[in-house]
């Protein structure tokens, strides 16, 4: 079943097009990842799908009654706003205490309800965002670089959780990611974006496409460069790093 269809959409930011004639769709149960360099319009695409940005041209069609769970790239909570995890889960709809506790337990952080949002670690914070997004039993879960600020073990666990979520809820997952190694493992379909759709398809297929190589460099060098860029401050070379270094 088709959840969202975007046809020939052009989105402008104060005159200049951020995305040009993008055609995109996602079906029930699919995991789709959007890849692209900074400023390539990844977040713009997600925000368009949510309905936060108007189309300059083209059309956006959503399945009737489509429920979207959204995990933003970062959520800045003003220090003047006192907000516990429990209260955050009740936004915008109030939920029962047992439902909240079950949602927290479900993402692996039981008993955290009373904590202020400002006092959470990066990993806990992302899990709370995920728990809230899952509360509405979404048909489509949208994650905008949800693992930013997590270390490698943290983001691996997070993506493992996403796979479980799909199995459990049967929802589609649309995510933006920089982490190529994760993308290659976890996605059904990859969309490569750079102001327009460069290429799309199964991960293995995209990885060999010339458009992809033009964007990310070819082979080891490209993957490694991007990977290194993400983990500047890592002091040891862990197994995953080796694996990438040796990737053909």
């Amino acid at each position: 079943m088709r959840l969202i269809t975007l046809q020939n959409a052009t989105i402008r930011h104060s005159g200049t097009p951020a995305l040009e004639s993008v055609t995109f769709h996602i079906d029930r149960g699919e995991i789709v990842t959007i890849l692209g360099p900074n400023g390539s319009g990844k977040s713009t695409l997600l925000r368009t799908l949510i309905g936060a940005l108007p189309l300059s041209s083209g059309s956006l069609e959503k399945a009737p009654g489509l429920r979207i769970g959204y995990v933003p790239q970062k959520l800045h909570i003003d220090p003047t706003l006192p907000l516990t995890v429990r209260r955050f889960l009740s936004l915008p709809k109030r939920i029962r205490d047992d439902v909240a506790e079950a949602a927290l337990a479900d993402v692996g952080i039981p008993g955290l309800g009373h904590r202020p949002m400002a006092g959470l670690s990066g990993g806990q914070f992302q899990r709370v965002l995920l728990a809230r997004a899952l509360l509405t039993k979404p048909d489509l879960l949208i994650l905008d670089e949800a693992t930013q600020g997590l270390d490698q073990a943290g983001s691996a666990a997070f993506y493992q959780k996403i796979e479980n979520v799909r199995a459990q809820f049967g929802c589609a997952v649309l995510m933006v990611s920089h982490e190529l190694h994760v993308v290659m493992a976890a996605s059904d379909r990859v969309v490569c974006l750079n102001g327009h759709v460069c290429c799309e398809g199964a991960p293995a297929q995209v990885a060999t496409a010339p458009e992809y190589k033009a964007l990310f460099g070819s082979g080891t060098h490209g993957t490694l460069a991007l990977y290194r860029h993400e983990h500047d401050h890592s002091h040891e070379c862990d197994p995953a790093c080796d694996e990438h270094g040796n990737h053909p």
Binding site: I50, D78, P82, R87, K93
Partner: protein
């Protein structure tokens, strides 16, 4: 002489009315970082006073229209790539200056400018009190009705969008509520100190609140206490009432901040 003839009682009622409406709204102003927005809206009110006197219509109407116009303009301009901080500063002070110039053009009308700039709470009539409380109730109903959506939109516009809430609509509701507060508070604290009634109680309440709702209630309480304390202090010390109310609020803010600092150090 009935209870309602006593000017201190009327002043207290008017002041508390403004405080309990301004405080929860002020929480949103603080959370959304709209302090300058509040300033600009309040300062536009003086322009509204000038217009109302020129066309001999009601001051309340003139102020409401100008405040709405200013708040609407800012809302429309925001998020269009302007340097909002600068733009708001320009608008806030221009509105004040233009308003003062416009008032000076009024011939044959004697205007007590100080009353509009700093309020004249001791001169409120029973009718004024009724207007303040109608406005306050309207704002409280508005906030009660939109509370959850406003809070979600305040947290993150996209998060609100994904939940089917329009951040633009919530912004308009904030704008409307702000204009109403300005219109009813001008008589009590004056245009220059309205923002203080929004910000100081909210900032004070933050130090001992663990939830947004608690902060709103505590802010109303702090606001009401500063009105009562300020009224009595100004009576005893023979000082201007509006500024004394704000100064009382400031004292409570300092007290609360110091207490919070000591508590966190003791831990």
């Amino acid at each position: 002489m009935s209870f309602f003839d006593d000017f201190i009682v009327l002043a207290s009622l008017a002041g508390i009315g403004v405080a309990i409406a301004a405080a929860p709204l002020g929480c949103f102003v603080v959370w959304r970082r709209m302090a300058y927005f509040g300033d600009a809206t309040a300062h536009a009110a003086i322009l509204g006073v000038a217009l109302a006197l020129t066309f001999q219509t009601s001051i309340l109407g003139g102020v409401l229209v100008m405040a709405l116009l200013m708040a609407g303009t800012i809302s429309a301009l925001s998020g269009r790539g302007y340097a909002m901080d600068t733009l708001l500063g320009v608008l806030a002070h221009s509105a004040l200056a233009l308003g003062l110039v416009a008032v000076s053009f009024l011939k044959g009308v004697r205007v007590d400018l100080m009353a509009y700039l700093f309020g004249d709470i001791l001169a409120v009539s029973l009718a004024d009190v009724a207007i303040v409380w109608s406005g306050a109730l309207l704002i409280l109903i508005l906030l009660w009705w939109r509370w959850s959506s406003l809070l979600t939109a305040t947290l993150n516009p996209e998060l609100a969008r994904a939940s089917g809430i329009s951040p633009q609509r919530e912004q308009m509701i904030m704008t409307l509520a702000l204009a109403i507060v300005v219109a009813v508070a001008i008589k009590v604290v004056g245009v220059l100190l309205i923002t203080a009634m929004l910000l100081i109680p909210a900032a004070t309440a933050r130090t001992f609140s663990s939830s947004p709702e608690r902060m709103a209630v505590m802010a109303s309480l702090v606001g009401s206490l500063s009105v009562i304390g300020g009224l009595f202090a100004s009576f005893r010390l023979d000082t201007p009432t509006g500024p004394t109310i704000v100064a009382t609020g400031t004292a409570m803010f300092i007290g609360a901040s110091l207490t919070a600092m000591l508590n966190s150090r003791g831990r």
